[in-house]
């Protein structure tokens, strides 16, 4: 039973579901539904899909997430970055607006769902950790910029396209003379209005006496007002006949049952994009879910979240949708509106189903420029390039990873952007650990402490070299240690003993073991003995198992002090002065 509850979290909360929870959930659902209608249509536009696909992608996926997901507030559906990545992936296999494009979207959602479920069942959620925070921040910022630019053609009423900033700007410059002035007026007014509802409306409502929560929610309804007013304007003034692009006929229907094309060729082409979409979607979703859960001292299980999101994507694949994930803005609204359980999501799905059945005829005259404005205003809040400055201040390695992510995303598209970010950050980490800090140490007079001879005035013995290694030893730094020790000794014919102080060595892998063996052998060839001191228990176990200690020319000492005392009982060199320039 407990095992079943792990995989079906609904069994945990559904049993204690009562009238109070129902009431809270229902209110939250109404608010989220109103917000989701324009957002779903807009992200469908961004993904290059027909508008109804945005609604469909918000209905069954929400319900499936409610059954399998662990977050009580997460709202699942189309989100900006994943929609952009969807457009980039599908653009490689089909032309926007064709049947093949929408079909490929189903395949992409199915693949993404399967990947997420597989990662969840294999408990591989931690793989997403290799996307570092700065890389994610850079990627989201660059994607936001790309998304905003990708919507400018809709605001201008011209053709657009392209996966990179250069392609997009080139398209804009080419088609600029074809700008439709009426579309431009609609686009600019709606954009201005939406910015104002974000910045100016809430304080205004507060001054008019509204409570803070009500003012907040009213301000979030801005997009709905913009949709209503601009649709009415087009309808009444007949602007669609004067070149204003509108959403057009939308089928009045519940989500259809669809079957994704699972031909091996298409799966092969879409696998890598699906993997990236899954990982990025998961990272975005889990961040939101954890933030909201922590506020109520609840937990989300990352591996179960993968299964929940995977189920949602499989749902999207079979009901005419496209890839979905847990969205930031909708989840926060859901949480703020008081949602207590995933049932709020199910009620939202109900609301959207009603919208898909009843409201779709009203959408016909909705201008695409309005949707584009909704997207631009939403994503510009994501474009926070201050990550560059913060990374520069904090660490140059992090800065390089962010800069690579942003530049490659803008210059070569989203898929290569996120891959480059991961590659650069892993590479820099490996480089850092491949050159560990090694300090030559000596005894601080009158103590048992050993410190860096370049920083402290210490006693050393001409026949003994003591080296402290400040990193676990593994293949990438094993040869560095080998070269370091042998070079140190090669230049000094007096040396008879080398002591490696291993207090900071948590692990010695097989390469490092072989390097130690090589050091031992080569030192022996020149008449020098190798000793170890302060070796940790588990490391010592391994060294014993590998019979290294049998071959060791010297001894293993419990402490560095014991080692030096045993090897040079009387001949300590007087304290050296600290060198002037270090």
């Amino acid at each position: 039973m407990r095992r079943l509850q792990t995989y079906l979290p609904i069994l945990q909360w559904a049993r204690s579901y009562d009238r109070a929870a129902f009431s809270d959930d229902a209110i939250a659902a109404v608010i989220v539904t109103i917000m989701l209608i324009p957002q779903s249509l807009a992200y469908a536009l961004l993904a290059g899909m027909p508008p109804e696909a945005g609604l469909y992608a918000s209905i069954v996926p929400i319900i499936l997430y409610a059954v399998f997901g662990t977050s009580r507030a997460l709202a699942v559906g189309p989100v900006a970055v994943v929609s952009l990545m969807t457009a980039a992936a599908l653009g490689q296999v089909a032309q926007q607006g064709t049947a093949g494009y929408a079909a490929a979207a189903l395949t992409l959602a199915a693949l993404s769902g399967a990947i997420l479920v597989a990662l969840g069942l294999l408990r591989l959620g931690f793989l997403a950790n290799f996307l570092s925070h700065p890389v994610i921040a850079g990627f989201i910022a660059a994607s936001g910029l790309l998304i905003a630019v990708s919507q400018l053609p809709h605001i201008l009423g011209i053709r657009g396209g392209g996966d990179t900033l250069f392609e997009m700007l080139h398209g804009l410059a080419t088609h600029l003379p074809e700008t439709n002035p009426i579309t431009l007026v609609i686009g600019v007014s709606v954009t201005g209005f939406l910015f104002w509802t974000r910045r100016g409306l809430k304080p205004l409502l507060r001054r008019l006496g509204l409570g803070p929560r009500a003012a907040d929610i009213a301000a979030k309804a801005g997009p709905v007002a913009a949709v209503l007013v601009s649709t009415l304007a087009v309808r009444v003034l007949g602007l669609d006949a004067r070149g204003v692009a509108v959403v057009g006929d939308v089928p009045q229907s519940l989500p259809p049952l669809t079957f994704p094309d699972l031909s091996p060729a298409l799966l092969g082409q879409l696998f890598l994009p699906a993997l990236l979409i899954s990982v990025i979607g998961f990272v975005e979703s889990i961040s939101v879910a954890q933030t909201l859960a922590a506020k109520k001292r609840e937990r989300v299980s990352p591996d179960q979240e993968l299964i929940g999101l995977g189920a949602a994507n499989l749902g999207a694949a079979f009901t005419g949708g496209f890839p979905v994930t847990g969205g930031f803005s909708r989840s926060v609204v859901n949480f703020d509106a008081g949602a207590r359980t995933p049932a709020a999501g199910a009620f939202t799905a109900l609301g959207l189903a009603i919208a898909a059945l009843a409201l779709t005829p009203a959408i016909h005259f909705l201008p695409k420029a309005t949707l584009a404005a909704t997207i631009i205003v939403a994503v510009l809040s994501l474009v926070d390039l201050s990550i560059l400055r913060r990374a520069w201040t904090y660490s140059k390695a992090d800065f390089l990873a962010v800069a690579a992510t942003i530049l490659v995303t803008l210059g070569f598209g989203v898929e290569r952007g996120v891959s480059s970010g991961v590659a650069v950050s892993i590479l820099l980490y490996l480089l850092r650990t491949s050159r560990p800090h090694i300090a030559e140490v000596g005894r601080i007079p009158g103590s048992e402490h050993f410190r860096n001879i370049h920083r402290h005035s210490v006693e050393t013995d001409p026949g003994i070299v003591s080296l402290r290694v400040d990193e676990s030893l593994y293949f990438a730094n094993a040869r560095y240690l080998e070269t370091y020790v042998l070079d140190r000794v090669a230049g000094d014919p007096d040396v008879r003993h080398v002591i490696l102080q291993c207090s900071a060595v948590n692990e010695i892998d097989m390469s490092a073991l072989e390097s130690l063996e090589a050091i031992n052998t080569r030192l022996a060839e020149s008449g020098t003995r190798l000793h170890l001191s302060e070796v940790k228990g588990p490391v010592m176990d391994r060294l014993k198992r590998a019979h290294f200690l049998d071959a060791l020319t010297g001894q293993v000492f419990l402490s560095q002090h014991e080692a030096v005392a045993a090897l040079a009982p009387s001949s300590a060199r007087p304290p050296r002065p600290v060198p002037a320039a270090v």
Copy 2:
């Protein structure tokens, strides 16, 4: 001047060159020359090149290495593994035996030389460290097996080919009925003879009263004897007319001046193979050079070695050769024969040049089976699969990396083999560090020591959770820490303080900083404060620079003991019994 000496090591040793050194070097050169003649011809055969290319690849490259290299004993020329990789690389762009094949070999050598010089000038020699010892061992063993199997067709007198074990065995099985019995007799006898000279001849010579060094060198001359006898046999008995494949006409000439084809298409196709050949060749060479240098307390400079090997390969490219590196067996012979300076190499080059001019007509009747036998006996000593057992005993991660390298090398060829080994070992290292050990600690009664609550009987306070993190914090484990801390606190409503003991944290990257900020914020949302203790100096500097300490809800304490004393002055929980099963 010193800078010039760094790049031209010859300036260091040439000035003190005297008659004694000359005499030692000349004797070593004679011995190495005799050994190199059959070896060069054999490795040319392995690389799919005409036999004279093996001689050419041992002349100018040796001289250039003597000028630019830092090892005094390293002997440069064609070696087994690099020759096999050369054959695999060239097989992808041309057919063995065609003019295009030999031309591509020049391009490959030129590319490899350019890559090595570039790595040396950029001081990137340490990149080779990412090839772990077990991966190299596995790769060499698997390559040795592949090489041995690749020579069986020559022993049998049938056609062969293929880059993977399966392809080779398939070819053997297909052509087995075409076996030439006389070739087989030659091949098997020479192989048996060579094994005997390795195992049985040396003890025999010692019993006959020869000194150990002389016996060793005489035993090494086995291949020369085999070449002489089998060539004579073919000549006298006219076996070439009865189907025994012989080396055939070899031009009687010094190395020709050749110009590699540098067309972008060919460079593009050969770049990755050239990179792998360069890295593998460098690793093999530097291991030998360091081993020999250490015996005399000399040093080799890895970056200058790259330049020396690069110059040698460029030399091979312009004199009708193919990729070369420092070989293990020839270098050891050179060293044991008493070579004192790189001049020994130059004299060897002179010897081989004389051989190329004078001895080539005599090579006509040399059976290919004899060369194949030479190769098989040489490489079988490389096939040491005990690395699998040793890795299994020592560490499962190392075992996985070795096993992947061996299986992929045998099953998919040398290039994929070595790439897989590197990828697997990096991946496993990242996985290990991505789940750091985090211990919940409590105070050992009557002391200031804090230890793992699951291993020791310690005092804890119900309002305080103390966690010790045993790894530097970076992106791959940042979210793990976040989840760990938040999960720990989510289940325990009593907790008011979380203390992170940072004694083992050498670095906190930006992702980890953001995770700490998230932990701080989320704990604050549930009324819990975050404290740090025992933070190292450099880490503290960074935290200050990032203004993390301003936001921190708790304090930073010098020691864990101070922290607990300040936060829970009186309410210590009595010692808990150690749990039975841990």
